[in-house]
């Protein structure tokens, strides 16, 4: 992508020193979406944890999941609370559920017209938004409706 949905200046995501979320952040740099799964039970979890919440075992595995989902909920933000967003109009935040990955949920922006009607239940696909000029570089997982107006 040549341009990001929101302007630069927002906090840059980095893995914590412990490295818990590093596989996710490294994965999205290469346009691979990874979440955690319990190897014994197949139960998914997100955000990352040190332990499988269903069996209390520490053998959590990272697995690639299809970068698509459905809109579970949303908000359209009109009142900015960060200087980088001062001159930005409304923007849309969506909560996306991944039905094929144990219904884990992720949060991102819905690309396209910020004043578009947002439909709960609408299918969406991920768009990997690379911020290569940031220090350090990072990638955000954005979403666009499938077959919708967003591009």
């Amino acid at each position: 992508m040549s341009e990001s949905y929101l302007p630069p200046g927002l906090p840059i995501p980095v893995p914590e020193p412990s490295g818990l979320s590093r596989p996710y952040w490294e994965g999205v740099r290469g346009e691979v979406l990874k979440v955690q799964r319990n190897p014994k039970t197949g139960v998914y979890q997100w955000p990352p944890q040190w332990i499988c919440h269903d069996t209390q075992t520490f053998d959590v595995e990272w697995v690639e999941v299809a970068p698509k989902g459905v809109i579970y909920s949303w908000t359209r933000v009109w009142h900015p609370v960060h200087p980088a967003l001062k001159e930005v109009g409304p923007y849309i935040v969506v909560v996306v559920e991944l039905p094929h990955a144990g219904k884990v949920r992720m949060l991102g922006n819905l690309l396209g017209d910020p004043r578009q009607a947002v439909v709960i239940g609408a299918p969406v696909e991920a768009v990997f938004e690379h911020h290569n000029d940031a220090a350090p570089p990072f990638t955000l997982v954005q979403w666009r409706t499938i077959g919708g107006e967003a591009g």
Binding site: L6, L10, P11, I12, P13, V14, P15, E16, P17, S21, W46, P47, H53, Y72, S73, W74, T75, R76, V77, W78, H79, P80, V81, H82, P83, L85, V88, P90, Y91, V93, V95, V104, R105, M106, L107, G108, N109, I120, F138, L140
Partner: protein, 395 residues
């Protein structure tokens, strides 16, 4: 084995607050505000401040018990307690912790307090200024999702979607607070009534929250003195007895920042907590005469009232009409001091005080003969908390 319960064993004996100010307008340091609120509560109860032997607060209040005990010259310190969890979710929890300490013999006279002078520190409603960010916040802040209103809006949005609830329900909640504030000279919004048109025309903060769906940010301090039921009966005010209280959340309720991942997203997280509170109190929602319900955002009040059993989600549009929510005639008078929206954002401790005043007959929007008074602390966070008070007649 005796039944483990707080019911009837502890009472609120004194309440006090400073003047309430607009954000950044406090003329004194936050610590001084805190001391003055505590002294006002002691005066109200008719006790010597030096007899306070316990302190309880929440939301990482900056005024620590050793500093307060030293400043006030209390004879001894026996209980110092901080309820985990940010936001106003711990307001009733701090009351419950104080009551548990008294019932369990750890202390005799505990003050629950909250002081805020955000102009002297940081504001809640502002985003992080950090250059880099880690953990749960890294999954939200880079998308412009970084304030409480933004974190909680999708919860209310999903609930309203699932149950076909319109903006009018949120408007009625906002208008009830503003209505009651017009009778309360302490209220920051005293003399500033809100009309339906004023609500409808107000700007969006983040959908589904208009400006008037969001709490204020204020300066001031508030305090409540708790003692044993026996001692409260000998003091000068009519006791407000603790009937029941509960703290917590349901299954895997994530941090505010990772709240999008909570399995039960469209919830205020009182489903388990309200049940425990009612069980201890031995009363149910139909027994409640008046409700103070923390408005961080009106959508949280909507879900809290449902999860406290006052109406089903499908009944929300019929129930949440202004005439049902105002004292003295409404069937469920709500936020009768003006609450966080219009009295003062004292992180919900002003709601606890109002619940006590209703049982004393001292509210500026009094519910005649109120005997059971509910005070719900900040919804949608974790842990949340809730407490219910009763008059002598209920014990």
């Amino acid at each position: 084995m005796t039944r483990r319960s707080l019911r009837g064993r502890v009472a609120a004996a004194g309440v006090g607050e400073t003047a309430y100010y607009r954000h950044g307008q406090a003329p004194e340091p936050e610590f001084v505000l805190c001391l003055k609120a505590i002294l006002a509560a002691c005066e109200d109860a008719g006790i010597d401040p030096r007899d306070i032997d316990g302190f309880a607060s929440y939301s990482n209040d900056r005024n620590d018990p050793p500093s307060l005990a030293t400043a006030l010259g209390t004879h001894q310190l026996r209980f110092s307690n901080m309820q985990w969890g940010g936001g106003g979710g711990g307001g009733a929890g701090a009351m419950a912790n104080a009551a548990a300490a008294i019932a369990g013999g750890l202390a005799d006279c505990v003050v629950v307090y909250r002081a805020l002078a955000q102009g002297q520190f940081g504001r809640f409603g502002q985003g992080s200024r950090a250059n880099t960010i880690t953990g749960d916040s890294a999954l939200t802040n880079p998308y412009g999702q970084m304030s409480p209103a933004q974190y909680y809006a999708p919860k209310a949005m999903r609930f309203m979607h699932e149950h076909d609830i319109g903006q009018e329900a949120l408007r009625a909640i906002a208008m009830a607070s503003y209505h009651h504030a017009q009778a309360n000279p302490r209220a920051v919004m005293y003399g500033r009534p809100l009309t339906e048109q004023g609500y409808d025309e107000s700007r969006w903060i983040t959908e589904p929250f208009h400006l008037y769906d969001c709490c204020m940010e204020n300066d001031g301090a508030a305090a409540i003195i708790l003692v044993s039921a026996e001692r409260a009966r000998d003091l000068k005010q009519t006791p407000a007895f603790v009937l029941g209280a509960a703290i917590g959340a349901g299954y895997r309720v994530h941090s505010t920042q990772a709240g999008f991942a909570t399995p039960d997203l469209a919830s205020s997280h009182f489903k388990t907590v309200a049940r425990h509170m009612y069980e201890m109190a031995e009363v149910g929602p139909t027994d409640v005469d008046v409700v103070q319900c923390y408005e961080n955002f009106t959508g949280g009040v909507l879900m809290s009232l449902v999860e406290h059993g006052f109406f089903a989600p499908e009944e929300a549009m019929d129930f949440l009409k202004l005439e049902n929510l105002i004292a003295p005639t409404g069937k469920l008078p709500l936020n009768t001091s003006g609450g966080n929206l219009a009295e003062c954002y004292m992180h919900g401790l002003e709601l606890q005080i109002e619940a006590v005043r209703q049982l004393r007959g001292q509210s500026t929007s009094q519910v005649a003969g109120a005997k059971v008074s509910l005070a719900v602390a900040g919804p949608m966070v974790t842990p949340v908390s809730t407490i219910i008070f009763g008059s002598e007649a209920v014990l």
